[in-house]
Amino acid sequence: MIPLLIAHNTFREATRDRVVAGVVVAGLALLALTQAASPLALGEGGRLTVDLGLSGISILGLLVILLAGTSLVAKEVERRTIYNLLARPITRPAYLVGKWAGLSAALWAVAGVLGLALWGLLALRGLAGHGPAVIEGVYLAGLELTVVTALAVMFSALSTPVLSALYTLGFYVVGQWSDDLRLFAARSPKGLGTVLAGIANLVPNLPLFNMRTLAADGHTTSALHLGLATGYAAVYAACVLCLATAAFESRDFK
């Protein structure tokens, strides 16, 4: 119940914040831009629309996380609004989970709005059949953002907003390279390979949430992929939030 209350409040904060509204407008503008560029794509306008639409959701969502998510907890500590909360009968884990859930919900809402707009646009182009692929692409993008939000909340609970943003961005970048890290690990000498493989498992496996190429051709992915991605996102986010809780539990608010 308490996490839901905090989540609701965080969702309210995110949606009243101009960043989220601006991001939705930017996403819609990006989709409009794809239509302006479509005639130049020599018949590949549909592909361009899907690619840019799905990439836009992912990148704009990351922008929201870096601007709003990384100061979620840090800002409350800085402004001391957290005193009013933690002096009530709520646990620190409940607080962190609520914060993560609230921002994730806001990001899902953004992804949903932009995903619907993308589908509508494709339908207008006579590519309504791409719908299932787009839905899956948006779903996976939402899972990706949920995982990155957990990282942002963790860093925000430990550090300042600027450092939190840098750490989160760093994990995002390395996470996109996790497949390459695994390849390097396989080709490297034993010791180094083990270390690299360890790092590849430590960082979020973001390529798992990427089916933009498939979606651009109107292809859906397998139920196994969707199931694995969902399970991985849930477990990774839970793990990160546990780490955040462990660190946050002993934190003093001077």
């Binding site: 409040n9 904060e13 001391r80 609004t81 009013n84 009530r88 009968p89 709520i90 003093d252 608010f253």
Partner: protein, 312 residues
């Protein structure tokens, strides 16, 4: 007991130099249910540290504390707690009603009750006329009042208030005093810190003086002021040019003003002797006023005594 602390201590260790700063040392404190206890001390004495340790915002280095019988580490301890931090800040994107409703729900109230109580308390602290005003437009005094309302919305059994009069004009301070008195009459325990000594004198059943991270004294206001000897002030007409006899030096002082002369007798036992001397000198005596020692005086004396103890 509403609040119990045993050997409560907080030390800060610098991460690089490992230098230890003792924010609070060995605090033993009991606050009875239904009592109003004032926490006095100079800046940096450890008052806020004490209150934050009791509310769980700081983890003690040593010792234990209980609120309403529950250890402070547990959420149960905070169920009956209403806390007002010093210079409170709130979510500036919410309005007054929304914030109080959230505060009530987080303290365990059902949403309908929280909504009703939010409106009630918003009005009670004088903010009811504009319930939809966003908090970013609140003045400092309005934020202080809202903080009080947030501390009271779930009608707790224990109030911990850090500088509740801070930022308030005299009318606001009077309202806060009335609120605290009202809560005491309801049987609520109040523990608050303040720099405004007259308010502490007026409200508190007992006063705890914290200086340099240590609790130096806990007593009723009456007990604190009773120990001192009572001085007397004699107000006379102006122009009384009299040489104070040398054997009274240090015990009788004169202050000359344009409209009067004031003779201060430190020991009331000497009053008759001094009055006789003035009347024989044909000085026109206007008033004789006993001077009770104030909490401010005692507090300053206690602070000085502690300072001397440390340097000795």
């Amino acid at each position: 007991m509403a609040v119990r602390a045993r050997d409560l201590s907080k030390h800060y260790v610098h991460p690089w130099t490992l230098r230890v700063t003792r924010g609070l040392e060995g605090l033993d404190l009991d606050v009875r249910r239904g009592e109003v206890l004032g926490l006095l001390g100079p800046n940096g004495a450890g008052k806020t540290t004490t209150l934050k340790l009791l509310t769980g915002l700081l983890k003690p280095t040593r010792g234990n504390a209980w609120l309403m019988g529950e250890p402070v580490e547990s959420t149960a301890a905070r169920r009956s707690l209403g806390f007002l931090p010093e210079q409170p800040y709130f979510y500036d994107y919410l309005n007054g009603v929304e914030y109080l409703e959230l505060a009530g729900q987080l303290s365990g109230l059902p949403s309908a009750t929280a909504r009703a109580r939010a409106r009630h308390w918003l009005g009670r602290v004088g903010l009811g006329e504009r319930p939809r005003l966003v908090l970013r437009k609140y003045s400092k005094g309005m934020l202080q009042r809202l903080g009080l309302a947030a501390a009271l919305v779930h009608e707790p059994g224990l109030l911990i208030l850090d500088e509740p009069m801070s930022g308030l004009d005299p009318f606001g301070r009077r309202d806060v005093r009335d609120l605290i008195t009202e809560q005491r009459e309801r049987g609520v325990t109040v523990l608050f810190s303040s720099h405004i000594l007259p308010d502490v004198e007026m409200l508190c059943d007992r006063v705890a003086i914290v200086i340099g991270g240590r609790l130096t004294r806990v007593a009723t206001v009456g007990e604190l002021v009773a120990g001192g000897s009572q001085a007397v002030e004699i107000r006379c007409a102006p122009g009384a040019v009299l040489e104070i006899p040398s054997h009274w030096a240090g015990r009788v002082t004169r202050t000359q003003r344009a409209d009067e002369s004031i003779f201060r007798v430190e020991d009331e036992a000497q009053l008759a002797e001094v009055l006789g001397w003035l009347l024989r000198a044909k000085v026109q005596v206007r008033a004789v006023t006993p001077q009770r020692p104030t909490l401010e005086t005692l507090f300053m004396a206690a602070a000085e005594a502690e300072r001397q103890r440390r340097t000795a």
